[in-house]
Structures are given as structure tokens and as C-alpha cells.
Amino acid sequence: MLRYFARRLLLTVPVLLGVATLVFSLIHLIPGDPAQSILGETASPQEVADLRQRLGLDRPLVEQYGLFLRGLVRGDLGRSLRTSQPVTAMIVERMPATMELAAAAMVFAIATALPLGIAAAVWRGTAVDHSAMTLALMGISIPNFWLGPLLAIVFAVELGWLPVSGRGTWAHLVLPAISLGAALAAILARMTRATLLEELREQYVQAARARGTSAVRAIIRHAFRNSLIPVVTLVGLQFGAVLTGAVITETIFAWPGIGRLLIQSIGFRDYPLVQGCILLIAITYVGVNLLTDLVYSVLDPRIRYN
């Protein structure tokens, strides 16, 4: 197992290096002179030259890349152009809010999807199944940037039950979490149904039933437990979608996380901060995927031997 873990960890290194390289190149993709583009047409040549120096753009490309990687290893992502604060500190400050939102969305998704998927599989081909799967397909199709405002109209504006934006109490978390978790819930429900249906056809489930195990016990204790492995994997793999969705959800509900920081920094052309946010989200995503792979290999030893 250790060999598999070590191999998987080693494979992550070139991916992380590739991610860092791509994020480094972002500022060089800006059409024309990046410093001029950041400051606008009215900036004086001196101001442009100062910014070029501040961003290190006056150095050779290879040197810039080396400095970027060295800073990255030390956790130094430069300073925000707008506030002059260290980018790392700004991101670390916003991190808990994004993680709180992502965790709440995933809890909502799992709590909704599992019962829905199980019900659809158990009552396959009935109205329950069709309703659950239509609901799931709607969940996938409805964009969170529409669901969010819609939920706000109904539950915050019309009914006045929940706050429309901001962060503070648990009540602030409800609408953003539902808005962000709905699509994941839909995907998970479909997956739960599909894998449970496959398990229900297996002989061990039929054998359990033949031994007199009740239908509920055979489904929950036997089939469902085994169907959980791909579902757990999917939860891990979908974490990236939740992180990207958070960018939109945080913007809608004025949630003070990294996603909102990213969009605000794009608006201000604060590229070091943009690079920092993108890099952190991508590294978190790679990390979670790695963790999912490792957990999967523990749950299903066949993975390690393939």
C-alpha cells in the first residue's frame, strides 16, 4: 500500500508544477504590456515602468519563473496591487468562509441525494423513480446563478425566513449551501441509484434475502454499503465543481470567501491576487483528488494492484 501511496504522490508533483507554470503564464497572456493594461491608458511611462519593476516583469522570463516558484515554495505569492497586503495572508483570511460553505453544500447534497437515490433504485420504474430522476436532471440543468437568486426571492424576500446575503449565523449559510449543493445532490442521486441497482442484482443480496434477511436490511446493510464506494469517490471528484460553484455562489450571496475575492480582484485587475486565488483553488482541488484516490485504494484494494 505504501508503494502505491508513494507512486501516487510522485505523480502529483509534475501536475502541481504544470499548474504553477500555467498560473505563472497567466499574466503573460495579457494582450500587450501587462503593466500598461493594469494601470490603463492614462498612466505615465514612469508609473508603468515602476509597476513593471514591482511585478518583476523587467527581468528575464526564466528568472521571473524561478522567482515565482521560489516564492510559491515559501508560501509567498507577492502583494496585492490594490491593498499592498501579502496575497497569501488575504487568501488565508478568506479560506475558512469558503471551506464552511463548501462543507455545508456537500452535507446538504449527501443528505438529499442518498435517500433520493435509494428510493429511486428500490422503487425502480415507478412514479417515485421517475420523479426522483426528473428532479435530479433538473438539478443538473438549473444553474446555481439562477437557483441562488430564486431561493433568495422566495425565502428571503417573500417569506422573510432567511437573510438574503452575508455571513454570520447558520441562517446565513442555508441558502448559499442549497444553491451550491443542488447540482452535486442531483449527480450523486443519479450515481447512488445506478450503483445500488447494480448491487441489488448481485447474488450476495439475493442470498441474504433467501436467508430471511428483511428487504430493508438487505438494501441498507448489504447492497447500499457496497454501492457507497463509487459514491464516495464521486463526492471527492465533485469537490472541484463545488469550489468553482462557490465563486458564483459567493458572488450572489456576498459570502466573504475566496471566490468573491477572485471576482473582485479580476474587477480591479489585481493580477497577483487573481493568480493566488486560482492557484490555491487548483492546489486544493489536486489535493482533494489525491486524497480521494488514496481513500478509494483503501476501500477497494483492486485499485492498488491495477
Binding site: 501536475v15 504544470g18 499548474v19 440543468s141 426571492i153
Partner: protein, 266 residues
């Protein structure tokens, strides 16, 4: 469901094409005294913050959405099929290089790289198409690579090779056609995904810029009027959800038709 999906998609295409003849209102025309007015018999979806007819703008937005979807899917699929086919067919270093690039692009979750690219290239419809295509090809390449790995071992492909057919001919005439059913399913689902992505970028202010009517831009404009004019948000949202649902229904149906085993499993 596939028929419902096909019906929705055909209706959207027809409405996008004949939009200007369905409604007498110009999507850019303003009736300022009636700004934010709700739906009525004359203005079916009401008017927006500048007094523009929302129904006319939703119809015009369908053009943008379908156009973005079509261009992104065409460009992504072409690049993806080409790179996936040569990676799968030649293997070795070619495969290694292409696969590593795919690994790096797949290390960015969903829309994030598109947001990053549009952030540096600048917000515009063209840049949205470029960003979504640069990311979209990976899915097709991965799919085609897997299919080609299987196809290159098939007897008719080996027979063509034994008969001395050129590699380009083997790929174009024998190998790539075997991947097309799977690519068609992916492209149909990809249309929905591209439409959703364009709307998301426009909603964030990074995509289509006002006054061009895009569903995402319309939703963004509606955010400031959630309390006093929710119809600004409701109708463009319904349009996005229904069209994406249509492509998802159609994609699911096509997949079931091409691979009956999946309909058993799902």
C-alpha cells in the same frame, strides 16, 4: 425523454432563427417610462431596467447561447478528436506528452481556468469562446484516446495496416469513425455545458458585454432588482434551465440508444 429533449432543442433553434418575426419589439429598443414593468399581454415577460422587452431579449439571447455552444463544441471536438486519436494510436512519447498536458488542464476544476483566461484576455464573447474551447478539448481527447486504444487492435484496422494503408488514411477512414458515436453523445451534453458556462461567465461580468443580450448578462442585470422586479431574473433563468435540460435529455437518450447497457444501469 430524448424526444422531449429533441423537441426543446428544435424549438430553441427555430425561435433563435425566427425570433425577430415572433415579436414586434427590438431587443435593444427602450421604453423608459415602462422600465421594470411586469409581464403583460403586450410585453409577455415584462421590461428590464432600461425598458427593453425581456421576451425579445430572451429570443435574441438564444442565438448567442446556441452560437457559443455550437462553436465551442465544434472547436473542442475537432482539437480533442485530433489529439486524442494521435495519442491513442501512436502511444509512447506522443501519448505521454498529450496526456501530461491533459492532466494539467484537468487539475483545474471546471470553470476556474475559463475564469482565469477571460480575466487576463478581457471580457468578450470571442474570449469566452476561446477560453471554453481551450478547456473543452480535454474531455473529447480523453474519450477518443480510450476509444482509439481499443480500435487500433481491431482486425479491420490491423488488416488496413497490413495492406499498407497510410497512417492518416487508417486514422481518418477506419479508426476515428469508430469513436464518433461516443463523441456525438459527448458533444450533445457538451452543448448544454457550454451554454451553462457562457451564461455563468456572462453572469459574473466576464462574458458577453452589455448591451448584447445574453441570458447570463440579463441575470446579472436582474440581481439589482431582485426585490422590486423579480421577472428580470425569472425568465432568462427559465430559458437557460430549459435549453440545458433539453440538451441533457437528448444526450442521455442518445447514450441509451447507442449503448443499451447504460439504460439498464441507470
Amino acid at each position: 425523454m430524448a424526444r422531449v429533449g429533441a423537441g426543446i432543442v428544435i424549438l430553441a433553434v427555430v425561435l433563435a432563427l425566427v425570433g425577430p418575426f415572433v415579436t414586434p419589439y427590438d431587443p435593444a429598443g427602450q421604453e423608459l417610462p415602462l422600465r421594470l414593468a411586469g409581464p403583460t399581454g403586450t410585453h409577455l415577460f415584462g421590461l428590464d431596467e432600461l425598458g427593453r422587452d425581456i421576451f425579445a431579449r430572451v429570443l435574441a439571447g438564444a442565438r448567442i447561447s446556441l452560437l457559443v455552444g455550437l462553436v465551442v463544441v465544434s472547436v473542442s471536438a475537432t482539437i480533442g478528436i485530433f489529439l486524442g486519436a494521435i495519442a491513442g494510436y501512436f502511444g509512447g512519447r506522443v501519448d505521454e506528452s498529450i496526456s501530461r498536458v491533459m492532466d494539467i488542464l484537468l487539475a483545474f476544476p471546471g470553470l476556474l481556468l475559463a475564469i482565469a483566461l477571460v480575466a487576463v484576455l478581457g471580457p468578450s464573447l470571442t474570449n469566452v469562446v476561446i477560453a471554453l474551447s481551450l478547456i473543452g478539448w480535454v474531455g473529447y481527447a480523453r474519450l477518443v484516446r480510450g476509444q482509439v486504444l481499443r480500435a487500433r487492435e481491431l482486425e479491420f484496422v490491423q488488416a488496413a495496416r497490413a495492406l499498407g494503408a497510410r497512417t492518416s488514411r487508417i486514422l481518418l477512414r477506419h479508426v476515428i469513425p469508430t469513436t464518433l458515436p461516443a463523441v456525438t453523445v459527448q458533444a450533445t451534453l457538451g452543448m448544454g455545458a457550454a451554454i451553462l458556462a457562457e451564461a455563468a461567465l456572462s453572469f459574473l461580468g466576464l462574458g458577453v458585454q452589455p448591451p448584447t443580450p445574453s441570458w447570463g448578462t440579463m441575470l446579472n442585470g436582474g440581481r439589482a432588482h431582485l426585490l422590486d422586479a423579480p421577472h428580470l431574473t425569472i425568465f432568462p433563468g427559465i430559458a437557460i434551465a430549459v435549453l440545458v435540460l433539453g440538451f441533457n435529455f437528448l444526450g442521455d437518450g442518445l447514450r441509451d440508444a447507442l449503448d443499451p447497457a447504460t439504460s439498464q444501469r441507470r
